[in-house]
Amino acid sequence: MIATKEFDYEPGEHESEKASNSYLMSLVAIIAGLPLPIVNLIATFAFYMGNRNGTYFVRWHCTQALLSQISMLFVNSYGFWWSVSIAFKAEEITNKYIAFILAAIIFNLAEFIATVYTAIQTRKGKHVTWWFYSEITNLICKAEK
């Protein structure tokens, strides 16, 4: 699911730090944005916008961090609004709801661990690619000619 690959060039110290920060940004935002899943997406997006003119390595990892946030946003938002309708509306707790929340927790936890690992490796200048997300990132992020 996660692989360390050769990048086009050896990233500098400053680049590695910025690329690693893009993952840390989503981690910090997860803690702040737990009640509202959109918060961590906005934080990662803001970081992405700030670095979209950065070097290829920085741009590439900012994009991968942003994409990984988008997919969890759907799951978390659905779970969030489902929970709200149980707490404040006439919706009842069902087996399906509990199973969904547990599945969401498993996927969020997996994403959290992967993000921490990627942040650490990227800080060392390693190019960590995520299954599926790296393919999309390659399509979006083109190397400078």
Binding site: A87, F88, K89, A90, N95, A99, L102, A103, F107, L139
Partner: protein, 265 residues
């Protein structure tokens, strides 16, 4: 582009697969969700009842209590309902009202009995409230109006205001239009199974419609509960003219019940 597309399907599919597999485990039983819900409801019911008990006068007259019990017994027996699930309280209050509280508590104001000449209409109103209890409308309404978290805080003893607020909501007729209709339909079913004529209930609602202000009737669409006239009409539509009806208690018991209530006032 083909590879990422397949990978996306696999990722989405894996989430649904995990969800499906987790759904095979009975979490509701494991976490005792229903049992905890029942316990919370019972606790809330006790709190609401105690709050009402402290501000209203409960009727303890045996004739009144036994007569109302006979009505409820007839409905429960003919509809396969467990009479022990319902805790009926009669309060001395001139308001024409009856309402359900969480945990199977049902409050009947003496005004409902004094205001009605026909005992079948009172039985119809009781059936309507029993239907609210059986269909779990009470908790649905409370959760919607107050919120689950506030209700849970009330059961832990830190929500005196929540109890007051809940009592106000439950004694008002603020059920959703769909819930009211559902309870009306169920009440007719109960009445028919008990061989009690639903027509007096419809007539009673017509009577209430006459007492409602013209303003409310003209603003029917914003009302949270169906205007009584509209409710009466769909009750009449359900009446089976072929069926032979008999009241829940004898006429002499009904008259004795009314006299006892009048003497209380």
């Amino acid at each position: 582009m083909k590879k990422p597309f397949l990978q996306a399907i696999l990722i989405v599919g894996s989430f649904f697969l995990v969800w499906f597999l987790l759904n095979q485990i009975s979490w509701m039983q494991l976490f005792e969700v229903e049992e905890n819900g029942i316990r919370t409801e019972e606790k809330l019911g006790e709190l609401y009842w105690k709050s009402l008990q402290s501000s209203e006068i409960e009727v303890s007259n045996k004739t009144i209590l036994n007569s109302v019990d006979s009505i409820i017994e007839r409905i429960c027996e003919t509809n396969g309902l467990n009479i022990d699930d319902f805790k009926v309280h009669i309060l001395q209050n001139s308001q024409v009202n009856a309402f359900a509280l969480p945990g199977g508590h049902m409050i009947i104001y003496t005004g409902l009995i004094t205001h009605n000449e026909n005992q079948d209409a009172v039985t119809g109103v009781i059936c309507h409230e029993l239907a609210h209890i059986e269909l779990n409308h009470v908790m649905k309404k409370l959760v919607k109006e107050i919120g689950l978290s506030a209700l849970l805080s009330a059961t832990s003893g830190s929500g005196g205001e929540v109890i007051k607020e809940g009592s106000k909501i439950l004694s008002s007729l603020a059920f959703d239009r769909s819930l009211e209709k559902e309870a009306d339909i169920k009440a007719i079913e109960y009445l028919k199974n008990a061989n009690i004529n639903p027509e007096p209930l419809a007539n009673f609602l017509y009577l209430l419609a006459g007492e409602e202000t013209g303003l409310l009737e003209s603003l029917e669409w914003i009302s949270t509960h169906p205007v009584s006239k509209e409710r009466a009409e769909y009750i009449i539509a359900e009446i089976d003219n072929e069926q032979e009806y008999s009241s829940a208690i004898s006429n002499s018991t009904w008259r004795a019940l009314k006299i006892e209530i009048q003497e209380l006032d």
